[in-house]
């Protein structure tokens, strides 16, 4: 084995700086967009930008782009199962009131924390 160079893949210094710059720009973008009211698109854009940032970190800082693809598959599998977990729970959560007439309300309507509010609508908590 050579003693001069690493046997492992070395990512050029410039690549790290480029990725870092991209991450900073995306941070500025996501903060700037949050001050503009785009309705439900705010959430979509914020999550999209966060996912791009996360991909950059995973691909370059965590070397997944250059690694054995097995590592990437393992990581993506965890995200797949996370998506299944959250999406199916949301199916349930968001369609509950089709069956039960329940509206999310205060757990304790007479709590002191509501004193400043004009009215806290009644109803049972989830």
């Amino acid at each position: 084995m050579s003693t001069h160079s690493s046997p492992y893949h070395i990512i050029p210094f410039k690549t790290y700086i480029t990725v870092f710059t991209a991450l900073l720009v995306l941070t500025v973008v996501t903060v700037a967009v949050s001050f503009v009211d785009l309705g439900s698109y705010n959430l979509v854009i914020a999550m999209l930008v966060a996912s791009i940032k996360a991909s950059l970190v995973a691909m370059f800082f965590m070397h997944l782009y250059y690694d054995n693809k097995l590592n990437l598959i393992i990581f993506l599998t965890s995200l797949l199962f996370l998506a299944i977990f959250i999406i199916f729970i949301m199916f349930d959560t968001m369609t509950r009131d089709n069956i039960y007439k329940i509206k999310a309300g205060p757990i304790n309507p007479s709590a002191k924390i509501y004193d400043n509010q004009k009215s806290s609508e009644g109803g049972t908590g989830h």
Partner: protein
Amino acid sequence: MSHPAHLQHHFSDSQQQHESSKLGMWLFLVTEVLMFGGLFCAYAILRAWYPEMFFHAHKVLDVMMGSVNTVVLITSSLTMALSIHAIQNNNQKAGVKYLTVTLILASVFLIIKYFEYSHKIHLGQLPGKFYTFTGIEGNNPHLFFSMYFLMTGLHGIHVVGGMAVIYWMMRRMKRGEFSSEYYTPVEIVGLFWHLVDLIWIFLFPLFYLIG
């Protein structure tokens, strides 16, 4: 046949040992993703139930502090990656320097977090039954702060744990235990640190930017 001191007997060569260690770390990171995943799921449910409350509650968080912390953590991820870059080029000195900067940035992150937490504790913006603040409209605002403290708190514990292992790596690198031939532990610690960064990349918009 002689073999390098760092190579354990059950591996055929350094490369295989390195790959196996990384594979093991990725499996651990999967469990981390799933652990935080449970909290992200709880966040999604509560947000779906109380959209207005989340909107009003998120305004009490300081976007400036959150943004600065995001930049601090991204920069610390860069210096972590650069320390691995340095040791890959057999430059222990630069490697130790980059790890030191990473540690300093991690401390800055925690100090800013400390100011945010103490401000909220002072105002009674606390989880569950400890919540006494009266300035947020909407139902069950204490639930927002339950999620906020749970998620940023668990993330904060990871930052502290990350700092401990980065410090350990710094000591070992100073002692000259790593070289371009063998730096697997630094790489593993780097993966952990980047995951901490990854999680913050999602926590930041979910709490500070969109309520």
